[in-house]
Symmetry: C2
Subunit: 339 residues, 2 copies
Amino acid sequence: MVRTHRVTIQDVSVLSGLSICTVSRALRSLPNVSEKAQRQVAEAASKLGYKASAAASRLAGGSTGSVAIVAPTATAWFFAQAVEAAEEVFGDSGYDTVLVSLRNKATVRKQFFADLGNLAQRVDGLLLLNIDLAPEEVEALKASGLAVASVGMENVPWDNVGIDDEHAAWQATQHLLGLGHWDLAVLSSNEHSVVTETPRFRGFRRALDEHHLTVHPDLVVGAGPSIDDGRRAMTELIARGAKPTAVFAHCDEAAFGALTALREHGLSVPKNVSVIGIDDHPMSWFLGLSTVAQPVADQGAFAANLLCERLLNTESPQQHSNHLLDTKLIERKTTRHKR
Amino acid sequence: MVRTHRVTIQDVSVLSGLSICTVSRALRSLPNVSEKAQRQVAEAASKLGYKASAAASRLAGGSTGSVAIVAPTATAWFFAQAVEAAEEVFGDSGYDTVLVSLRNKATVRKQFFADLGNLAQRVDGLLLLNIDLAPEEVEALKASGLAVASVGMENVPWDNVGIDDEHAAWQATQHLLGLGHWDLAVLSSNEHSVVTETPRFRGFRRALDEHHLTVHPDLVVGAGPSIDDGRRAMTELIARGAKPTAVFAHCDEAAFGALTALREHGLSVPKNVSVIGIDDHPMSWFLGLSTVAQPVADQGAFAANLLCERLLNTESPQQHSNHLLDTKLIERKTTRHKR
DNA sequence: GACAAAATTGTAAGCGCTTACACTTTTGGC
DNA sequence: GCCAAAAGTGTAAGCGCTTACAATTTTGTC
C-alpha cells in the first residue's frame, strides 16, 4: 500500500492511452468526451486509485475542493449541530470543510472580512451560519466571487435555509401572553446592540403589539447563545430591579442560563417566573423547559446541499432561494398561568 | 479595494528589486538572506498586501497552510470546546483548520484512514481528539508523513496533552465509594466494546480494587458523549434489572442522560441513586451534578500549539511529550451518603 | 463519395511557488 | 592585498493540473 510516487494525471493518461487533457476533461465530466474515453479514463483512474491534487488543480484554475463554514461561535449547541451536519454533506461531495469561528468577537470578524480575498483562493464556497451582516459585508462576500449559502439569515443575495425566526419568537411570546403574562422580559440575541431588529425580536414585539402591549426597554437584555451569557443577562435584569413574570430567551442555552440566575436569586420557575426558549436542546426535555423546537441538523445539511449544487453548476444564474423549515411550540414545565 | 490581478511573488520581487528566489526565501525566513534583503522584502510584501498562494506553495513542495482536526464527533460539548480553542491557535499561526468528524461511525472512521494518503497532501498536520487507535492505525498515521499531535490519547508516538484519565475516574469513583456506595454502575465511553480498557474504566476498576470490590459486568454499559446515549445506557441498565446505588458516567453529558433516565423510572437523585460525571460542563453547575472538572479549551489550545511547533521546525527529532493537566473533584448535589 | 460542420482529442503554455545549482559578493586570515 | 571559504543572490526547472487553440476524426448532407 505504500506508494513512493504519487499517482498523477500523467499515470492515468498513460494507462488509459489518452492524453492528459482528455483525462482531465473526462475526470471532470466536461462535454466533448466520447463515452469510450470516459470509460477508459474512469477505469484507469480507479485502478490507480487516482485522486487529483487539490493544490495543482487549484493553481491551474480549477477548484480547491474545500469549503468554509463560518460560525459566530463553534461551541454553541446549535452551531455544533449544524456544523457537523454540513460537514457530512460536504465530505460526501468530496469537499474538505474548513472551520472558521468568529468567536463572538468583533476583531475576529473584522479580520475575517479583511482576509476574505485570501480565503477566496483557498476555498470554493462559504456556508455562513447566522451571521448578521452589514451591507458592506454582503458586498465583500459577493465581490469575493465565492459561492455562498447560509443558515438562518435574512434578505441575503444567495441561497438560505432557516426557520421563520419571527414566527418562532411569536409562537413563544404568544404562548406566554396566552398564559396571562404581560410583563415579559426578553433575552435577545444581539449582545452588543439590543436595539437591533433581529427577526426574533421582531416576532416578540409583534406578539406584544397584537395584545396592545409595548416592549419595555428595561426588560430587554442581550445574551449570546450560551448558558453563561444567559445567566449574566438574567442577573443583570434582576439587578436592574426588573420584575417580569415571564422571560422569553432567544435560545434554549440562554434560557438555561436564565433558569440558573433565577434560582440563584430565589425565584422559582414557573411559580414566580415562566421561562421559554427556542431550539429544543436535548437538555430541555430533562429540565422541562418550554420551547419552540427547530430542526437544526436539517438546516445545516440542507444549506450545505444547496451550496454543493451551486458549486456544481457554476453558471446557474437562477434566483437564489430561501427555505423555511417548520418550528413547533413545545409546552413543558417552565411556563404556566400567571397567578 | 478590488484588485483584478492577484498579487504574486513576482510583484514583490519587482517592487523589492530582488529575485523571486530571494523573496521566497526571505518570506519563509530561510537562512542565507541578508538583513537588508529581508527588510526590503518584508516592506514590499506588506505594501502590496501579499500573501502566498497556498495552492502554488503546496504544489511546489511547500506547506499547505492547513491542518485537520479529527474528532470522534463534533457535537459533544468537549469536542466543540476543544475544536474552537484549537482553531483559534491554528488561525493565529496562519493555518486553516479543516474539520473532520468521524461521526461516531466505524465506516466513516475506516474511510478516513483509507483516505489518509490523500488527506496528507491537503494538510500539513493532524490534531487528533480522543481517538482510540488500533496499532495499524497508528502506523498509517506515521506513514502518512504528517505532523501529529493529540488530545486525550495514550501511549502515542507524538505529542499529547490530556488529563490523567485514570486518576480522574479514580477520583470520581473514590468519591462514590467514600460515601458508602458499593454497587456502582459505570457508563463507559466505549460504545461498542465495553470490555476495552479505556483509562477511565481502569481508574474506575482500580478504585474498586482498592476497596476489594470487583466490577460487576451487569453494571457496565457503554455510552457515547451525549445526553441521548447516556439516557439510553442508563435505561438499558435499569431494564437489565440492575440496582446500583451510584453511577459513574465517563462524562457529564452521559451523566445528564443518566439523570434523565433515572427520573423517568421514578428514581430520585441523590436519594435513591448518586450520580457523578467528568468534565464540569456549564450545565452541571445548574443541575448540581457532582463531577471531576477538567480544563477543556486549555487542552485543545495546548495541543494545537504543540502541533504548530512541530510544524515549524520539521527536523526536530526530539522525543514527543505527554502533558497532563490537573483535574479536580467537585462535589455537588447528585452524590450523597448511601442511606 | 465529397465536403463542411460538428465532435473529439492532442499540444503546449502557463498557474505561483520552491529548490538545486550556478554565480557573485563579502569576509577573514596571513 | 590575496585567496579560499562563506554568505548572499539569481537562474531555471519543475510541482500536477487546466485550458486556449490546433489537429484530427466523425457525422451528416446533397
